[in-house]
């Protein structure tokens, strides 16, 4: 007899957990009980496969909850338990994922805790897997998760939460997932896809589209030695056309829902920009004027974009550089100096804009500055290479070796 399919088992986690929490179980206790039920399933199912996996898990988890309560009650030397027996679950399947995401992304939790709890309770990852993904010891991650669950203890979890927080947490999971044993980017896409089944909110689709359209380029982002390959030099034949097609389809379905009152939000706008990059057959064919138009929409989403959304202003400066020339792009970055002038990305963008402007010595200096501020080895190495390349192109324009004869 084959063991249970782990993927199928994990897909059941949010549905069973949501059912338990909805009927009034404590989130913390229910999550522990379900983890025990999952271990039991891995042990028992190969010999005795259940007829209804979900019902089996719910029953076993409930039994664990009752056991836990009884021993708790005994410890407190109480004659009768004050807990009511579980009420029958009244669940709406489609909402389970959304409901649990609201629990895990509770505004009282710090972002790192929201991410960890989401991966465990909704994603069904083990604590060890989550620890591996963030390069921390398992005990540290276990502590972070149990503290997060303690914070939720006693909170009412029946109010609809803030969808914007859920989207931000999923995007954090996505951006964290570029290395390591666990495919966090793939996990974030899976969760975002479930989320789009649970809500009609166009921004949820915008986020899914954005992830798909960026993820499609992942195979071309690093060369076989692990070196970063910039967008303009990537082998576009390595891009995942199936993911691009799905991303475009999801984005179009989101944009189709816009009205005069409800304009596209930031994830849809960023997805639209990503779609234009994906759509270009070569770097030269990139539709920069259209990208700039989307950035214009993006920066007006906040009242003070320089302070509230400097990343968007910086991205727009690149587009300005490609449409109006490097000097114009550099002027756009000037007003960001006070806010992100110490960040490596600001210097890296200026290096690129100086190159567009034809000023190679200034580009080399900016790339070197960026390299000194990078907090990631691959990016640091990439920026040092960019600096050396720009300097050599200036000193030896004919392409002769910089090392000389």
């Amino acid at each position: 007899m084959q063991g249970p399919d782990e993927g199928a088992l994990r897909a059941l986690v949010p549905r069973v957990l949501a059912g338990l929490v909805r009927r009034g179980e404590d989130f913390d206790a229910a999550e522990d009980a379900l983890q025990e039920a999952l271990l039991e399933a891995l042990r028992v199912w190969p010999e005795h496969p259940p007829r209804d996996s979900r019902a089996w898990l719910t029953t076993v988890a409930t039994r664990r909850l009752v056991d836990a309560r009884r021993s708790e009650a005994a410890r407190h030397r109480r004659e009768e338990t004050t807990y009511a027996e579980p009420r029958p679950a009244a669940t709406e399947d489609g909402d389970d994922t959304l409901f649990l995401l609201f629990c895990c992304c509770h505004p009282d939790l710090a972002p790192a805790s929201q991410v960890a709890l989401t991966l465990r309770a909704v994603g069904g990852l083990t604590t060890q897997e989550i620890a591996d993904a963030f390069y921390v010891p398992e005990a540290t991650m276990a502590q972070r998760i149990s503290r997060a669950k303690r914070t939720l203890r006693g909170r009412r979890l029946d109010q609809p939460g803030d969808l914007a927080v859920v989207l931000r947490v999923l995007y954090l999971v996505y951006t964290a997932g570029h290395a390591g044993r666990v495919d966090l980017a793939g996990e974030a896409i899976r969760l975002a896809r479930q989320l789009t089944l649970a809500t009609d909110e166009p921004e949820a689709r915008g986020l899914l589209a954005l992830m798909l359209l960026n993820h499609a380029r992942l195979p071309a982002r690093l060369d076989p030695d692990g070196r970063i390959v910039t967008l303009d030099r990537q082998d576009r034949g390595l891009w995942d056309t199936r993911e691009i097609a799905e991303g475009v389809r999801v984005l179009q379905s989101a944009l189709a829902m816009q009205t005069e009152e409800r304009r596209p939000g930031r994830y849809q706008l960023e997805a639209a920009i990503a779609a234009l990059h994906d759509d270009a057959a070569s770097a030269e064919e990139t539709d920069w004027p259209q990208i700039l138009a989307w950035y214009d929409d993006l920066v007006v989403l906040t009242e003070d974009p320089v302070r509230q959304d400097p990343a968007a202003v910086l991205g727009r400066a690149v587009a300005v550089g490609h449409v109006l020339g490097g000097a114009a792009g550099l002027r756009e970055t000037d007003r960001l100096r006070e806010v992100i002038g110490e960040r490596h990305r600001w210097h890296a963008v200026r290096g690129h804009l100086h190159e567009l402007d034809g000023d190679l010595p200034a580009a080399a200096t900016a790339y070197a500055e960026a390299g000194r501020r990078a907090a990631n080895v691959a990016e640091r190495d990439h920026l040092i290479r960019q600096a050396a390349r720009a300097r050599a192109a200036w000193a030896y324009p004919a392409g002769e070796s910089a090392r000389g004869a």
Binding site: D225, G226, A368, D381, A388
Partner: protein
């Protein structure tokens, strides 16, 4: 088996055997050769079963001390002499002996610099207490 840290420094340590400009001012092919050598060292240590960990640090530094009751921590990032020690990163290795650690550190120090010639970088070997 004893564990050792092989520390690389941004600055500090004995007088450089071969002064070189910052890497962003090297010829691109020299930068590539240098980085390729470091990748090779990592692989070699793993294949030998001597690798424990390797990390790089950013050059930004903040000194912190307790500020006293009800006071914020006291921090400073300077002024510090330009010659003060600044660690750039390390390999942690698990090897047979101190001699083996010295041998590996010397190999790391043979990493190619400008013109493809060895850097002769000073490597700081520290034993990790068990």
């Amino acid at each position: 088996m004893p564990k050792y840290l092989l520390l690389k420094h941004y600055r500090g340590g004995p007088e450089p055997h071969r002064p070189v400009p910052p890497m962003d001012q090297w010829a691109p092919e020299d930068v590539e050769a240098h980085m390729a050598f470091l990748r090779h060292v990592g692989k070699l240590l793993e294949e030998n079963g001597e690798y424990v960990d390797a990390q790089a640090l950013t050059p930004a530094r903040t000194w912190v001390r307790y500020g006293g009751p009800d006071a914020a921590p006291v921090t400073t990032d300077g002024p510090l002499p330009e010659t003060s020690d600044l660690v750039a990163g390390w390999y942690m290795i698990d090897v047979e002996s101190h001699e083996r650690a010295v041998e590996l550190a010397a190999y790391v120090s043979s990493e190619p610099g400008p013109g493809g010639e060895p850097l002769y970088e000073w490597i700081d070997i520290r034993e990790v207490m068990s």
